[in-house]
Symmetry: C2
């Protein structure tokens, strides 16, 4: 079964493949983000860490990081993909700086860019980029984090003064966990229910000054500090309360909804729910970025743990001259190498996702075809229809982007938590010390699983996207009472993805009893298994949910009983996306050594993923018990085959060496001394016995 | 399938069951450990936190906590079990204090007690208890943590001066991560290779002063600070280097090995490996205590998350007047309730473990039957044989205690990590804030999985214990080259555990195809499945390992290829222990309401454990796919049935209310306001429409 060993491939080639389309930006970042300016925070207390990050943020603005994703006409570089790639590079360093930059230029600046119109862009974007105007993104409230459509903060239009009055109606409606609010932000993008002429039009975004130039809270604004957190201590998360704070009418970010001087509301999108989710959709870059940043942190942890596993030795073994390196133990390989394989899979899927984002949300094209407003501007019927079709297609692509971003963000951030944890444990007591970075990586990334969308809520969005293909059978999902759980949004099926491949042939491959003796590393078989599983889980879920439409059914109970099934659907869907992305990436590699290595790594990803869901494959007759056992054996074999390449694979990440400069990654010399000691002791004993 | 609902049981009865044999100690601790003296550390920096914990430690000495586990003749209370129970209670508060107390009275004082003789007890124990003599336990070295038999520090006897010369031969032989070393300890128990007359006799423990009364390092002793850690910032972990430090001959803790004035070595135990592991065995209380402390932290996290899940609401649902409480969602129940069930299982298994420890290692009986020294003291042949038999039985029980302690410590600490993590995520952003305790609980307990024995190394010890029953087939395990992996120790089979039950009848129950329609909550069926699984995994592993004895076999490769199988054996073994302990505990409950509730919780533990290993049961013909699906449905049903009792079940832990006084556990009022707001808004809208 085991193939011949893979040759050690060219590291530069591997890095090129790993870096992908924005390799230049990544390389520039490696050069720009060196010490001393971008050194790690070390052992600072909260105040000092915040100050340190604030100073680094100013450096970032100077080196141009902040301009990448903004329109060229306001001094930006108009490169959406580059802005995400650059953000990801920050993920190798202090994650507080990464998050802080994401707040300023991604969330705060991004909201002005995506939800505002020219008057906002002209007035604010240059100062946002230069950091002359530090801001924050005030969406989450203590009482409403996942269900942001039902935020309680209100912004009521007063036609007398042509102002909006922003108000926090009760304690749990305060804005909470707002990055930048506790210390640095001057201006907040505040999400609030827009009320005009005594009618609510749903959540909109408003620019609300919260601090004056001296740094004091503006009248009517109360600011609190969230205090200590598990990690990200360099980010100043805070709370905001608004006591009838007045802002001019023009402070409404009015791309998707506006209020005239007399108080008349207008919007290019009729339906309030649809309008809100269109607004949210323009902010998808945040989720894409979090998935990428989680990837960088995961890679850093793996690089540290793999280097340590290579030099650290423990226990003698018969036939081994020196004590055994940790990475030579199967249990150690199993703890790290499947995680390493999945990290590559996520990187390749992220690369595809960023490319799609880059095309659909060009930084210079602020009113793209994805804006449903385009439909209404068309002149005659023919044009209208063609515009409508292209708008429909654009909206379909946008919805798929959102679903993928949601799914990858969830899976990538959970993967970060579990992998960094595994790395910490693989380094024992040394992994618990701050000097070795792992504790901070673990603590900083921990919140990623619940911010920018709680992972379980996000997976439900993914599942909903897949279920819309079943709308004819299910009726209107929204009418079934699932509206809130899946978020109030209607989108098209995203099933065309598989059309390019011969699905039927694939499905034949997974018929029970087939391929019993087939090659366990056959990629087509892996793909077939993953596709078939998604289809089966989706069919089954659709059947279950159909019951919600039956007379007298308790729609909530039907949905709730199936919630684990819903989450499972999303997971298996993302796993298929990962396998496809990995497969495509391997196919595109020219260098035969790199291709062979990555091909094997892809097999490890596929088979370890299958292994972790063996109960499903066995329970659904997709695999005999004998073959299931061979899957486990194949994972073990792949671990042992890839073990000699583990260091190369983490070197492939191209993490700036400054950030891997931790004591345990430098253990080779200590281990050499220790081996020498053992050798000398043995020699002395032998001499004694002989003498 | 679903039974009638369980009545809400008497909380006091539930607490009584949960508290167990040392209920009085637990209740006293609840009273003694109140604020202000034992308040949480809050937002202190490292130095302040260390000082805070040091002051609390002195309080603990005053309230008598420190005396519980020491012999009455030196002023202790002679109650081993009480000392562990009291330690566990500290686990509800600041875990830095718990660990610090464990270092002083468990590891440091415990080593003097267990490895020293009367001269040490008399001289040191009173000052250890009163904290007049703060100490540390210097075993781990940078280069050797798991393989402590091969520590590099040496203690060479010099007959000229009748002193031992303690030395750190090279950098990676420094003592590392030593709690108490960085700041407070005056005296260290140092583990070092004892060398006399140019011969090494293996690792022994020596008392080495490291600081004088003014707090300055003693001559030849260099002390470093491990600095920042992921958690436990109130514990002063440090590093120690010894440069030819001389201590008197009497500073050898000489219960298991002594050196005469002329340098002659003597020991009641011939074999050096066996001697060392006997010494380690006397220190098993540390592992038992860590398992218990991990349990307390887990319970605290669950209490916070369950209370929050009860009051926190999110998303409307058809047919629900208010937004839905988080705990009403199946996914939320699945995240918390099986973990809650396992937490109870671990508590009951811990109770049994502490009872066994209490009997085998009585604090007042320092030279018990478990000391192999007893064998040699017997007078005539008959007596000698009877003493030998009882010594053999005592040793068997001691080995079983060690195996159970190792297994429970591993499973309990991993359970703590994963459960506290799940609780953190279940509380979203609020769970990330220090004010809500979860971050600190997570970070503090994180190191438990690798200290007091790396969990994966411990599980291999458990597996070895089970394999010794196969010694006749396998030959001497040690000779197979597995000696170091399983630790150099020979013990007896621990298989008699199941003798009281009718195993044959059990095994019939799990024959393929049987019981297809049987009650999924039948405890006998669960037990049969767990026992049969352990037996099958054990048989299979023994078969695999036998190959190591074949001519020309690479013993390391055979072992290494089976390492995942070894870990699996230990896991399934511990799961059986947990199920038995839970079953026994339920059977012993008098109150019918409590019994019914715990019985259902035990079913949830059993079925969720089975569910997480369904691939094995399906792959080995123990279950049909249909029944496997019903297992998943049964877990869902049990979650929904237990959901109304979730708060009661966490109240059953009896955690002092002072330590649950965190903002998110008090969210009921905020949610009420929010609901009122929603109601008022709806009313206003209705009035407007009507008007």
């Amino acid at each position: 079964m085991s193939d011949t060993a893979v040759e050690q491939p060219e590291l530069s080639e591997l890095r090129r493949v790993f870096d992908g389309r924005w390799a230049r930006i990544r390389e520039e970042a490696r050069q720009a983000l060196r010490r001393p300016d971008f050194g790690l925070a070390g052992d600072l207390d909260r105040d000092a860490h915040r100050q340190h990050v604030w100073e680094q943020l100013q450096q970032l603005a100077k080196v141009g990081h902040s301009r990448l994703g903004f329109p060229t006409r306001y001094g930006g570089e108009g490169d959406t993909g580059a802005s995400v790639a650059s953000f990801e590079m920050l993920g190798y360093g202090d994650l507080s700086l990464m998050v802080k930059s994401g707040v300023q230029w991604g969330l705060f600046g991004g909201a002005i860019q995506a939800l505002g119109t020219e008057r906002h862009h002209q007035r604010y974007l240059p100062a946002v980029m230069s950091l002359d105007l530090p801001g924050c993104f005030a969406m989450t409230e203590t009482g409403h984090g996942s269900d942001v459509q039902h935020l309680r903060t209100t912004a009521t239009y007063d036609p007398e003064t042509q102002e909006f009055v922003v108000e926090t109606p009760h304690e749990s409606a305060r804005k909470d966990y707002i990055g930048g609010a506790a210390r640095d932000a001057r201006l907040a993008v505040v999400f609030a229910q827009l009320i005009t002429e005594a009618e609510s039009h749903g959540v909109h975004a408003f620019l609300v000054p919260i601090r004056d130039d001296a740094g004091n809270p503006c009248p009517g604004v109360r600011i609190g500090d969230c205090g200590g957190k598990a990690g990200l201590s360099g980010v100043d998360n805070g709370r905001l309360w608004f006591d009838r704070v007045r802002v001019p009418r023009e402070n409404l970010l009015n791309r998707y909804g506006d209020v005239a001087e007399d108080g008349t509301y207008s919007s290019p999108i009729e339906n309030a729910g649809r309008r809100f989710f269109t607004m949210l959709g323009t902010l998808v870059r945040g989720r894409v970025s979090v998935a990428g940043g989680a990837g960088s942190a995961t890679q850093t942890a793996l690089a540290i743990a793999v280097r340590y596993g290579e030099v650290r030795r423990q226990f003698d073994a018969p036939g081994h001259e020196r004590e055994v390196a940790l990475l030579d133990y199967l249990a150690h390989q199993r703890a790290l190498l499947p995680a390493l394989a999945k990290t590559y899979a996520l990187r390749f899927a992220q690369e595809q996702l960023v490319s799609t984002l880059h095309e659909l949300q060009p930084a210079d094209g602020l009113a793209t075809a994805s804006s449903p407003a385009g439909v209404q501007d068309a002149a005659d019927d023919g044009e209208r229809q063609s515009v409508a079709e292209s708008a429909e297609e654009a909206e379909r692509r946008q919805r798929e982007l959102e679903a993928r971003a949601a799914g990858l963000k969830a899976i990538a951030t959970w993967h970060a938590s579990s992998t960094i944890q595994a790395c910490r444990e693989a380094c024992g007591g040394a992994g618990y010390l701050t000097e070795n970075r792992l504790p901070q990586l673990r603590a900083d990334t921990d919140v990623f699983t619940t911010f920018e969308g709680d992972n379980r809520v996000l997976l439900q969005l993914v599942a909903k996207g897949l279920l819309t293909g079943y709308r004819d059978q299910l009726g209107d999902l929204d009418a079934l009472g699932m509206v809130r759980f899946f978020a109030d949004q209607v989108w098209e099926a995203v099933a065309e993805r598989t059309s390019a491949r011969n699905l039927l042939d694939r499905l034949r491959r997974v018929a029970p009893g087939r391929d019993e003796e087939g090659d366990l590393r056959d990629r087509e078989w892996h793909l077939a298994l993953f596709e078939d599983r998604e289809k089966h889980v989706l069919d089954g879920l659709a059947r279950r949910l159909r019951k919600a439409g039956e007379p007298g059914a308790d729609a909530f109970a039907v949905f709730n009983d199936a919630q684990d099934h819903v989450l499972r659907l999303a997971r298996v869907h993302v796993e298929l996306i990962l396998l496809e992305a990995f497969t495509d990436a391997v196919a595109a590699v020219d260098d035969p050594g790199v291709r062979a290595l990555l091909d094997r790594l892809c097999s490890l990803f596929a088979l370890s993923t299958i292994e972790s869901d063996l109960a499903w494959f066995l329970g659904h007759g997709r695999m005999t018990p004998g073959r299931a056992k061979r899957v486990t054996s194949a994972v073990n074999e792949l671990c042992q085959e890839l073990r000699p390449h583990a260091v190369t694979l983490v070197e492939g990440f191209g993490i700036p060496e400054d950030w891997l400069d931790v004591p345990i990654a430098q253990g080779a010399e200590a281990q050499r001394q220790d081996a020498q000691h053992e050798h000398d002791t043995a020699t002395r004993a032998a001499v004694r016995q002989a003498g």
